[in-house]
């Protein structure tokens, strides 16, 4: 099923601004209707609650509240747990991936191992599944 990206909203949670910038730019080029960037876990949670996005890209090592804690809060809320989360982290140990998936993450990407093109493909895959 083709997704109308102009109607999709996405939240990028990333504390490294040089990474969030290039990622947001690419998502804009792909045609996403609404892109928001959060620089820490607390900001991310507030944004997710307010915007009810179609998908969240979540880094794991974040100031104030880390990605695992964000996932825990989302998982505990019957409404928020329905929002698909794609983890984009450079923590790539088996136990990190396992824990994130246990906490409801749809998929887990080690940033340095994925091109922007592959990241976009993963996002599209999850959105299509969720549509």
């Amino acid at each position: 099923m083709a997704i109308d990206l102009s109607k999709q909203s996405i939240i990028v949670v990333e504390d490294e601004s040089f990474l969030s910038k290039v990622l947001a730019e690419r998502l804009e080029d792909e045609g996403f209707g609404h892109i928001d960037v959060a620089g820490n876990g607390e900001e991310a949670l507030a944004m997710i609650k307010n915007h009810n996005p179609n998908i969240v890209l979540l880094d794991m090592i974040l100031p104030k509240m880390n990605g695992f804690e964000v996932l825990e809060v989302l998982q505990a809320d019957p409404k928020l747990k329905k929002i698909p989360v794609l983890v984009l982290s450079n923590l790539g140990q088996d136990q990190d991936i396992e824990q994130a998936k246990k906490l409801g993450a749809r998929d887990y990407i080690v940033k340095s191992n994925f091109s922007l093109q592959k990241v976009v493909e993963k996002i599209m895959g999850i959105l299509e599944e969720h549509a």
């Binding site: 490294e16 690419r26 140990q93 340095s112």
Partner: protein
């Protein structure tokens, strides 16, 4: 010339390894100060007791199941063992049982190395590599994504051919750095025993097809055809899918990159042998010189002709492949002839066995 008995006594007292002497009934007849320190007990409290009451030998990777000490001499040190101290603490040890040729009672001497410090250092090193790798991955991701953005030229600022070429070179160098970071992380995890397998059943032929797809551009650039000969009716493998995929990707990448100029083939096949699936990756590459063959799976080893051919590599890939296969209870080996080619074989268990 020193008196042999004095020399032995001095050595027995001062040697840092714990030494305990047992009779054939596994009763302690003597021990040195290092052993007394290890089990936190005085000589008089220990002598006459069965060793299993003083220091319990545990099965590797288990905290509960015990195996009794044996008085059969060991050919070498038994590494990666665990023992339970009288205070309940389980510690990593290595030991060796040596026969004492003395009288009819056939006593044995057990040398025990406390490996706690070694394990701590290994864990510290693994943690250090993990932190450093994570820190290195972040700027490497940024370089990767920014380069990709420039090469893709999504916003219409056209680069000329020369610039695109240089950009590709920089992108490839960054990819090499990322792969080195991944290799270091994997090798360090394997060394510290933190590498976990997640066993599933999967179709090896399908996996090879996916790897083939992933390497299609790389193979074309080297004028190499990858042929997947794995029969459709091959039984499912029981292994860690991602890790085995990593092994096949590594072996196939090696087969391609060490193929000399001209049109070449890489053939991947698999057959059932007993309870195992034996997979082979055969190339028509530069081969491995005889003098380097014994070292091929050693960490950081690279054959002379691999270095001469200026083919990039860290020397960690085959070490990681071997350790992954061994963790599955399989083995990895090869046949090779210089300037003719190499076939690397490995085996993994069949699902259901």
């Amino acid at each position: 010339m020193l008196n042999g008995s004095t020399l032995c006594k001095t050595l027995f007292t001062h040697i840092p390894s714990a030494v305990v002497v047992l009779d054939q009934q596994k009763t302690i007849t003597d021990c040195n100060p290092a052993f007394q320190q290890l089990v936190s007990a005085q000589l008089a409290e220990i002598v006459g007791k069965p060793i299993d009451q003083v220091l319990l030998l545990l099965q590797p990777n288990s905290k509960t199941m015990s195996t009794a000490w044996s008085t059969i001499p060991t050919a070498d040190w038994c590494n990666d063992q665990k023992a339970k101290l009288p205070n309940g603490n389980v510690i990593p040890i290595a030991y060796q049982v040596i026969a004492i040729e003395e009288d009819d009672t056939e006593p044995v001497m057990v040398l025990i190395k406390d490996a706690r410090r070694e394990q701590e250092l290994m864990e510290l090193r693994s943690e250090f590599v993990s932190i450093v790798s994570h820190q290195l991955r972040t700027p490497a991701s940024a370089v990767k994504w920014y380069m990709e953005t420039l090469i893709d030229n999504r916003r219409g600022n056209t680069l000329n051919e020369w610039q695109v070429d240089k950009m590709h070179q920089a992108y490839q160098s960054n990819e090499r750095m990322i792969s080195l970071i991944n290799d270091l992380l994997n090798a360090s995890r394997l060394d510290s025993g933190k590498f976990q397998l997640h066993l599933t059943s999967f179709n090896l032929g399908k996996m090879v097809e996916e790897v083939k797809g992933e390497l299609i551009h790389f193979a074309r650039a080297h004028n190499v055809d990858i042929n997947n000969h794995i029969p459709a009716d091959l039984p499912q493998a029981s292994a860690d899918l991602d890790k085995v995929r990593e092994v096949i990707l590594n072996l196939t990448t090696n087969a391609i990159k060490y193929s000399p100029a001209g049109h070449r083939e890489v053939n991947v096949n698999a057959v059932v042998k007993g309870k195992m699936i034996e997979c082979s990756v055969q190339d028509q590459g530069i081969g491995i010189p005889e003098k380097g063959q014994a070292h091929l799976f050693e960490k950081f080893y690279r054959a002379d002709n691999a270095i001469e051919s200026q083919t990039e590599g860290s020397g960690l890939g085959l070490y990681i492949a071997r350790e992954i296969i061994r963790l599955h209870g399989g083995d990895i080996w090869f046949t090779s002839k210089e300037n003719v080619g190499t076939t690397i074989y490995f085996n993994i268990p069949i699902y259901g066995n």
